[in-house]
Symmetry: C2
């Protein structure tokens, strides 16, 4: 399969994140993309650099004010104190119910709070460049597919599916899957489906397209009552306004086995067929893997071959976008298994 | 002045809080109330224990689900792991824009995120008992004033004015000023004004009464563009629905001097007179003091005498409720100066 990768992902490498109030090393590591890249090369997939600037697409899926903040965040942080080069910024206050996000404070940690859903999504000097390169990679894969490739894979990090219209969260800054879906729409696909198979609900992608009828969002994920992102991903979220009926959540209890998971996948795929999608984006999280350190589904490496085969049966031009997956050494094999399953079908 | 105090406040004594991503000792210390109590006794004010159960009032100002969480939070935390007795819980994810707070997750840190606007409001084993005792103290002072006392002072902590309808924040859990205002309403005052003179905007009190015409909220505070709580307290927040026109914010730039502050106070008092308040609650934060370690106004200890005199000129039955103030050793003198100024007028 044709794949897109750039070493710029490594510019995003913060040291620590917060997990339930404790500072811990980041789960979302540089090695994740390195292992995936190695597996792609080892299995003979063609790997190219991004060749499309995602800039025109970004404001179609993210707010301009958020984009401006994200691009300038590290410079704002350094402007406060040059010694901040060695420190990580974190928010401390969040604009929940009754609080306003329409006026951007001038205080930096408060700005960070406006644009964050958690304190587990640290930024560093290279975050914007890495995230932008990932969005460019997603736009590149969408162009290839629009121009006739059957499928393409975006081997990038940081991931994207938790990034909402105007906030970062869950290690995500720019929503690469949303960029790919929007780029496919821009290139002429009348209806695009996004199938999110990451262990965690793709709250950002859902929110970006929630009121749109041209993008069908389908997500299989751990029940948000117990799993991140906690505050979205329930079965009763079906879309709103023009988007009513174009959002399908299939939450499964933590610990769900492969059979239950593939049953849910079949239900999701049926919805995509009924929708009449002309192109498909797969938010490809591999944290459904049985040995993933932060997730609780039970897919084996062979199950990822099966997943690829099933997705191929939709017979749609398909962009795969790497999302989560924290069993780092197995990540490459599992990701490439999906691609190989797809191509063998 | 008749005052209400209980040593139960000391049950709320968490070790650390987060300040812009770093763990630091709590600013909101047990010693705060101890110094105020000592100053009250030294200056000959009568001090009694709370004698009213605030339970019937609490659901009039806070959501039932929030109250149930707060009362059970420490037990839920211990149920996860008995070793948690020695640890502090913190949230890590917050339900901002597009995320839902209507369904309570079963995961504890996510529950904490539903009910928190920051990660600087730590809970400990005695938080509920201390906060409930403070609300009882506020209800007690309201009863005394309703029964004919000219004024009463609630010498309590943790403070309350950042606690919203259904969330904690800014060291606050139960909104004592809102409890006092509601108790005065329940006792027959047709219109109650809340005058918030803490350095920080009383976002919780504003939010609780924002759509009500029977409670006029007036706040003087540091500009939220640079000062906590950052996301509320702008001059364009005038109330909504039935409450339209009954909210007055008077933000002042950090560094404002006493003259500017007293000019704003005069404007706030004019609004309270025009409103026709029959009773007054003063959210008495002393962090406007020139030596406060976390605030940036410039009032002197003598200015607090003047403040008391000015408030007395409204000639209303008045409940003073202690809010912030972190120059701990001066806190007692400054608080009692307000009371003495009031009584001397
Ligand atoms: Zn994930
Ligand atoms: Zn304050």
């Amino acid at each position: 399969m044709r794949t897109v990768f750039t070493p710029l992902h490594a510019l995003h490498a913060p040291a620590t994140e917060f997990f339930r109030g404790e500072r811990v090393p980041c789960f979302e590591k540089v090695d994740r993309a390195r292992y995936v890249h190695e597996a792609l090369v080892a299995r003979g997939h063609r790997v190219d650099a991004p060749e499309v600037d995602s800039r025109p697409v970004l404001p179609q899926v993210h707010g301009e004010r958020y984009l401006a903040f994200l691009e300038s965040a590290w410079a704002r942080w350094l402007a406060l104190d040059p010694a901040n080069a060695e420190r990580q910024p974190f928010p401390s206050t969040w604009p929940i119910r009754t609080l306003r996000a329409d006026r951007e404070p001038s205080e930096f940690s408060a700005q960070l709070g406006v644009y964050s859903m958690d304190n587990g999504t640290p930024i560093c000097a290279g975050t914007w460049d890495a995230a932008k390169a990932g969005a460019d990679a997603a736009a590149t894969a969408a162009r290839w597919v629009s121009q006739g490739e059957r499928a393409a894979f975006v081997a990038t990090r940081p991931p994207g599916h938790h990034a909402g219209p105007d906030f970062m969260g869950g290690y995500c800054f720019l929503n690469n899957a949303a960029v790919a879906a929007q780029a496919l729409r821009n290139a002429g696909a009348a209806r695009v489906a996004v199938l999110d198979v990451d262990y965690h609900h793709g709250n950002g992608t859902q929110a970006i397209f929630y009121e749109r009828a041209d993008v069908q969002f389908v997500s299989l994920h751990g029940d948000p009552r117990t799993e991140f992102p906690f505050f979205l991903g329930h079965a009763d979220e079906v879309g709103a306004g023009a988007g009513q009926g174009f959002n399908l959540n299939l939450p499964l209890p933590a610990g769900a086995l492969a059979d239950a998971w593939f049953d849910a996948l079949a239900a999701g795929m049926a919805r995509i067929r009924a929708f009449g999608a002309e192109a498909l984006v797969v938010s490809l999280g591999l944290d459904t893997f049985e040995h993933d350190p932060i997730s609780k589904f039970k897919l084996s490496s062979d199950d990822f071959l099966r997943l690829g085969e099933r997705v191929a049966s939709l017979d749609l031009p398909t962009v795969f976008v790497l999302e989560g997956g924290y069993a780092v050494e197995a990540l490459g094999q599992n990701a490439v298994n999906v691609l190989d399953g797809f191509e063998s079908a």
